[in-house]
């Protein structure tokens, strides 16, 4: 038996794994091998010391410290268990333990192990700052960008083709305006970008986008009856939302920075801006129109386009332009709720609330200076209104059922 084999016997001796025969072989060898005897002594001492390592106990009760957490887990599990237990017909606690919580724990652990909290904190802080810029300016560019991300390759092509057309539209004043605006924007946009590398990507992409947007304006405007200088500016920036799409290499945060950077020097969109392009998609610029329409839903209710989508407004929702003009009068609903009265062109128009059909239009022909005021509905669907012509005030009563009108 060589010393190598004896080493294993010695080791197994320490674990009391030797039978009598092996024990004797070991002792035989040790008797005439000084080296192995010394090694054996050292190993025995080591094993002894290992056995005597302090039996440490936790400085406080770990279970006691965990009890609040365990309670939360139970609560979460109870919630998670209510539905699955019915569906699967399994014992609730099985679901608690196996399906309700373990994924949560795993998730947490994975997060802990792969990300440092410093990194996560940095990302969150950056997100908060960007969020501040984006929302503080009440600018919906971010939402537009999100809405445009899902579209398929065809849309991508559409957007790039509009960019190619952009120079053609550049001689139009609106295009020039938008473009100048974009150029003015870009240095500031890059100033908002923290990483210098994304500056380079940001500037070139902003300009083509603005070019495209100017075209969007150009195509959208024929549909629009109202056009103000302000929309140019807004549309120019709004339609720049395809920008992120055209720069796919740009990382998500960088795109957001670019968008918010532009947002930061734009005023709140003028109320008429979305309306200008929203009602009917232009023949070619459908994407830009879509972008504008998405945006149109964003501004507060004062935006005219929001009118048709609001259930209480009385104006026909088939025509965005019409709605734009008739937004101001507040309709007066009958007590039964069946009818609504509204003043249009100095006539009192009564509509059926549900079908929106015009039931009656007042016959009174006043002058332009006359002021028509709706007074009140009576319980039997009679509408009283007043016409003030200078100092003279006349009262009229419309009976909707008989479709007659009488002055009082």
């Amino acid at each position: 038996m060589n010393c190598q084999e004896v080493m294993e016997l010695m080791q197994r001796h320490l674990d009391e794994d030797l039978d009598t025969q092996e024990e004797m072989e070991l002792q035989d060898h040790l008797r005439h091998c000084q080296e192995c005897t010394e090694m054996f002594e050292r190993l025995q001492r080591l094993s002894q010391e290992l056995t005597q390592l302090p039996k440490v106990v936790p400085p406080y009760s770990l279970v006691d410290a965990l009890i609040p957490q365990l309670g939360e887990i139970d609560k979460a599990a109870a919630q998670a268990a209510t539905e699955p237990s019915i569906v699967l017909g399994r014992a609730p606690h099985t679901i608690n333990k196996d399906e309700g919580q373990s994924p949560r724990r795993k998730w947490t652990r994975r997060l802990e192990s792969q990300f440092s909290w410093k990194f996560a904190g940095g990302v969150i802080a950056a997100g908060l700052i960007l969020g501040f810029f984006a929302f503080n300016m009440k600018h919906p560019v971010l939402d537009n960008a999100d809405g445009l991300l899902p579209p398929k390759a065809s849309k991508e092509i559409a957007s790039s083709s509009t960019v190619q057309h952009a120079p053609a539209a550049a001689d139009a004043t609106s295009a020039a305006n938008a473009k100048r605006m974009a150029i003015n924007d870009s240095p500031q946009a890059s100033a908002a970008v923290t990483t210098p590398s994304s500056d380079a990507q940001q500037q070139p992409t902003t300009q083509p986008a603005a070019g495209g947007s100017s075209q969007a304006q150009g195509q959208a405007s024929p549909d629009a009856t109202v056009e103000k200088p302000q929309p140019l500016k807004d549309a120019g920036v709004d339609a720049s939302s395809p920008t992120p799409k055209m720069a796919p290499s740009t990382s998500e945060p960088a795109r957001m920075k670019g968008a918010s950077g532009k947002a930061s020097n734009e005023a709140v969109p003028g109320p008429t801006a979305p309306a200008a392009s929203s009602p009917q998609p232009g023949p070619q610029g459908s994407e830009q129109n879509q972008a504008a329409r998405i945006q149109a839903t964003e501004p507060p209710a004062s935006s005219p386009v929001a009118g048709p989508q609001e259930p209480k407004t009385k104006t026909p929702n088939t025509n965005g332009v019409y709605s734009l003009m008739t937004q101001a009068p507040v309709p007066l609903k009958s007590l039964t709720g069946t009818y609504e009265a509204v003043i249009e062109n100095h006539h009192v128009v009564i509509r059926n609330s549900a079908s929106r059909e015009i039931v009656y239009t007042s016959a009174y022909q006043g002058q332009d200076s006359d002021e028509v005021v709706l007074s009140a509905w009576s319980k039997d669907d009679k509408l009283t209104y007043q016409v003030k012509s200078g100092d003279i005030s006349k009262s009229f009563v419309i009976d909707v059922k008989t479709k007659t009108e009488s002055s009082t």
């Binding site: 001492r45 005597q52 039996k55 106990v57 936790p58 009760s61």
Partner: protein
């Protein structure tokens, strides 16, 4: 030096006398009924179960991680996992090996991350052994050397040593806990002991202990 010789003699004698090993480190057998009750949804039984094993969980974590704070974190994580996964335990394995598998896995996961700096309160360990004062001081020094040496072992070797000496596990139980073949467990343990004795010999020669 005199102290050491004295200790050495006592240790050798003690070792010879202790052919039947003192089982103070091992996990007391947790009653299978308790485990079953816990699995059946008895929350009190589950809490009782956790209380019975928390010290053993902590001890393993302490010696694998060699750091009190990490050990506390790891043991709490292990206890939480046991709490939520009690139903995944099957009786074909020993409960104590199932528990130790969970805690060693967590420790090895933690161990693979960048290890923190050495803890300052290394000597503020809680002793439960009732040696006389002289011996306790020596054990303290020795324990420190040994812990340093254990800390130098690769993670699986370290786990094997900890389960063997702190949990008093058999080869088979270690194999079950670490999900390793029996021969691998033996080879890890033997190599670990050789490496440890060599490290400790170096400490000795360096005059640390003498």
């Amino acid at each position: 030096m005199i102290f050491y010789k004295f200790y050495y003699r006592i240790a050798t004698l003690w070792d010879a006398a202790a052919s039947v090993r003192v089982q103070e480190g091992g996990i007391p057998v947790v009653a299978p009924e308790l485990v079953r009750a816990a699995q059946a949804g008895d929350r009190d039984a589950l809490i009782t179960l956790l209380r019975e094993i928390e010290t053993h969980v902590y001890r393993t974590a302490y010696y694998i991680l060699n750091n009190e704070q990490d050990a506390l974190d790891a043991s709490q994580e292990a206890l939480l996992r046991i709490y939520t996964k009690i139903n995944s335990y099957e009786e074909k394995a020993l409960f104590k090996t199932w528990v130790q598998r969970i805690v060693t896995n967590i420790c090895i996961d933690k161990f693979r991350k960048a290890r923190p700096t050495v803890s300052i309160d290394e000597h503020e360990m809680t002793f439960t052994a009732n040696h006389n004062v002289e011996q306790e001081i020596m054990t303290g020094y020795l324990a420190k050397d040994i812990r340093e040496a254990i800390d130098k072992l690769p993670e699986h070797h370290r786990s094997v040593v900890v389960l063997r000496y702190l949990q008093d596990f058999s080869y088979h139980e270690i194999a079950e806990s670490l999900n390793l073949p029996l021969n691998t467990v033996k080879s890890y343990l033997f190599r670990a002991r050789q490496q440890l004795q060599s490290l400790l010999q170096d400490y000795q020669k360096g005059g640390v202990r003498g």
